[in-house]
């Protein structure tokens, strides 16, 4: 085999591996999209078809009523609204308190900094499930509504994460900025919110987005706290308890439509902020 042939073979092999990876990562999502465009009859066709086809003629036939059905389904719409409220509120709270703490940890000198840092780091690994029964008791004792409970308890994972990532961003900002501001007579707090905060805006967007996604994703607390309040169910819980319009035990056509609808906005966001998200994820983990 000549050198050129070897090179070509290598290239072919490489692209083959690449293609396999792409198919592996994307195919389940494609399958969900394709299934969401099938009728009940098409869904129960055996063998299943890769593209929605008419059971009798075998022609391609696309069915969009699953999408209409989920948008007339009160539970799903409510889930979307609840999830948006909960994830947004918890993210704002986490960013607010987290950026304060991160500024102190990243830029100020004070006694007890090391233990404080370790506490935050340990908290990023805190297993939420261990405090499940304790939080449930607290929430029942305080008679908090399910939505408020979720907003508040989601800080258990969003707050340590935002604090940890933002701390490393603050630390990387040059000290000279602070010093020159101090020379100009600014108090540390003024320096923080007038100079440093705007500088960390990109980091805020990244961590905000990541904690939003985490909150959007959360299932254990949501399932537990909404067990008495059906109205407050978030998207994951709503999808789990989906009962469809078209009679069937598990309306998979509609479930897949719902899956596609809730995934697409996140995918779009992720693609727009791709570079930042990767940076934020690796900052949260690699430096951790």
């Amino acid at each position: 085999m000549t050198r050129d042939q070897k090179k070509i073979l290598k290239k072919v092999l490489f692209y083959l591996v690449l293609a396999i990876i792409v198919i592996y990562l994307l195919f389940p999502f494609y399958w969900a999209i394709s299934s969401s465009l099938k009728t009940e009859a098409q869904l129960s066709m055996t063998p299943a078809t890769l593209i929605p086809r008419d059971p009798d003629t075998g022609e391609i036939s696309i069915f969009t009523r699953n999408y209409k059905a989920i948008f007339t389904n009160g539970g799903f719409i409510r889930g979307l609204i609840n999830s948006t409220i909960v994830a947004t509120s918890t993210t704002i709270l986490a960013l607010l308190t987290g950026s304060f703490a991160a500024f102190a940890l990243g830029k100020l000198r004070f006694k007890g900094k090391a233990p404080a840092l370790y506490t935050i780091l340990a908290m990023t690994m805190f297993p939420q499930v261990t405090v499940l029964s304790g939080l449930y008791a607290v929430i029942n004792a305080l008679n908090l509504s399910a939505r408020v409970s979720m907003i508040f308890t989601y800080l258990l994972f969003t707050l340590p994460f935002t604090t940890w990532v933002l701390t490393s961003f603050f630390r990387d900002l040059p000290d000279e900025i602070m010093q020159s501001a101090q020379v100009d007579g600014a108090t540390p707090f003024q320096t923080f919110h007038m100079i440093l905060l705007p500088l960390t805006a990109p980091a805020l967007v990244t961590t905000g987005l990541l904690s939003f996604i985490q909150a959007w994703n959360e299932y254990l607390f949501a399932l537990t706290f909404t067990s008495i309040d059906v109205e407050a169910r978030t998207v994951p819980v709503a999808i789990q308890y989906f009962s469809g319009e078209f009679a069937r035990q598990e309306p998979f056509g509609e479930i897949m439509a719902a899956a596609v609808v809730v995934t697409i906005p996140i995918v779009v966001l992720v693609l727009i902020f791709q570079k930042r998200i990767v940076a934020g994820l690796t900052a949260g983990a690699v430096k951790g």
Binding site: M45, T46, A48, M125, V270
Partner: protein, 356 residues
């Protein structure tokens, strides 16, 4: 004068730092530390949620009920006619006495958790709460295999994406797609692919290639449940792993490879002598993160198997919500906490991760 003003400044800074840290730490105390104390305390009581029974202090009862187990040998059943061990006529398997006969009943009933064979003898593990013992086992098996495959696949994906080729940017975007899918949604998507008729993807494919007869019920048969769940988790988390490893790969200076190339080292040797050792810190962190995450797995188990098979977390959830046993659920919470803590320490020690 100058000294006192600078120490004043330091004091100011100290004060400001405490003020800024206060809200975050207050929140963490309310939602983490206090409930943790509460869980710890409740685990020693028989508290039940929304019930009229009085809460009493029961000491270690909950822990004993969860963790007590016993191993008993099962005697073979001897066929009266032949004097040899009886064999099941249908399956051809050797028969042993039923576990119920050897497990203790007083003062507590032990039920079989699982059976295993060792040197031709058969043993049964009996437990007072077999579901919990099994849930710990399920979680450990799940954690081991999912983290193993995620690391392996993540490494392959990262190595591929790290090389120069057209469409590398698009590839990175593709990598984020499974990560962006909500866990519950991905569980639902795979649940549909695992459909036990040929309407399900895997049965359709298996049937087309003549591997299986087209009616495998992946989520009902005991042997396939864990592999199915692991497959979902691996798909969902491989991208995250790949991203972390990719970040580590990009820290390795290119000159090292160039030097190795000049010295005539093969790609294979380059991988084992340069890439892998230098990747160790990133891999270690990724491993810790994923292991601690996998040990608290809930979503996939709850959605796909519900009460058919538990993880530690889903067992905790069902004790709390369905059985309303708060004391018991709290004890499970404490045990999970200890297990995860032990893993964290073990990992940090053995991999020598620097937290700085």
């Amino acid at each position: 004068m100058a000294i006192s003003s600078s120490s004043n400044l330091a004091k100011e800074e100290q004060k400001l730092a405490f003020k800024l840290l206060l809200p975050a730490f207050l929140i963490l105390i309310i939602i983490a530390l206090y409930p943790l104390g509460q869980v710890f305390y409740t685990s020693f009581t028989n508290r039940e949620f929304a019930s009229s029974t009085k809460t009493e202090f029961v000491g270690l009862d909950n822990y004993q009920a969860l963790l007590s187990f016993t191993v008993k040998e099962l005697d073979p059943i001897i066929d009266q006619e032949t004097g040899e061990q009886a064999v099941d006529e249908e399956t051809g398997e050797k028969q042993f006495q039923r576990p119920i006969r050897v497990l203790p009943r007083d003062p507590h009933l032990y039920r079989p958790a699982f059976e295993f064979s060792f040197f031709g003898n058969k043993y049964v593990v009996g437990a007072r709460t077999p579901d919990f013992i099994r849930s710990v086992w399920n979680t450990l098996v799940f954690t081991f295999f999912s983290v193993f495959f995620e690391t392996l696949l993540g490494l392959i994906v990262a190595l591929v994406v790290n090389s120069e080729f057209k469409g590398r940017g698009a590839m990175r975007a593709v990598m984020l797609v499974p990560w962006a899918v909500i866990t519950v949604v991905s569980a639902r998507m795979w649940e549909w692919m695992f459909e036990p008729t040929r309407a399900g993807l895997f049965n359709m494919l298996g049937d087309r290639f003549g591997l299986i007869d087209g009616s495998y019920s992946f989520l009902s048969s005991a042997n396939l449940q864990l592999p199915a769940i692991i497959a979902v988790d691996v798909w969902k988390t491989t991208p995250f792993m790949a991203l972390l490893i990719l970040a580590g790969l990009q820290l390795i200076p290119n000159e090292l490879y160039e030097a190795a190339e000049v010295d005539g080292a093969s790609k294979f040797r380059q991988f084992f002598n340069i890439t892998l050792p230098l990747l160790k810190p990133s891999l270690a962190v990724a491993l810790i993160f994923r292991t601690l995450d996998a040990l608290r797995v809930f979503d996939v188990f709850q959605v796909m198997l519900s009460q058919k098979r538990y993880s530690m977390a889903s067992f905790n959830y069902f004790q709390l919500i369905s059985a309303r046993k708060m004391g018991m659920a709290s004890a499970i919470g404490v045990i999970i906490f200890i297990i995860i803590f032990a893993f964290a320490i073990l990992y940090m020690k053995s991999l020598g991760v620097d937290t700085e």
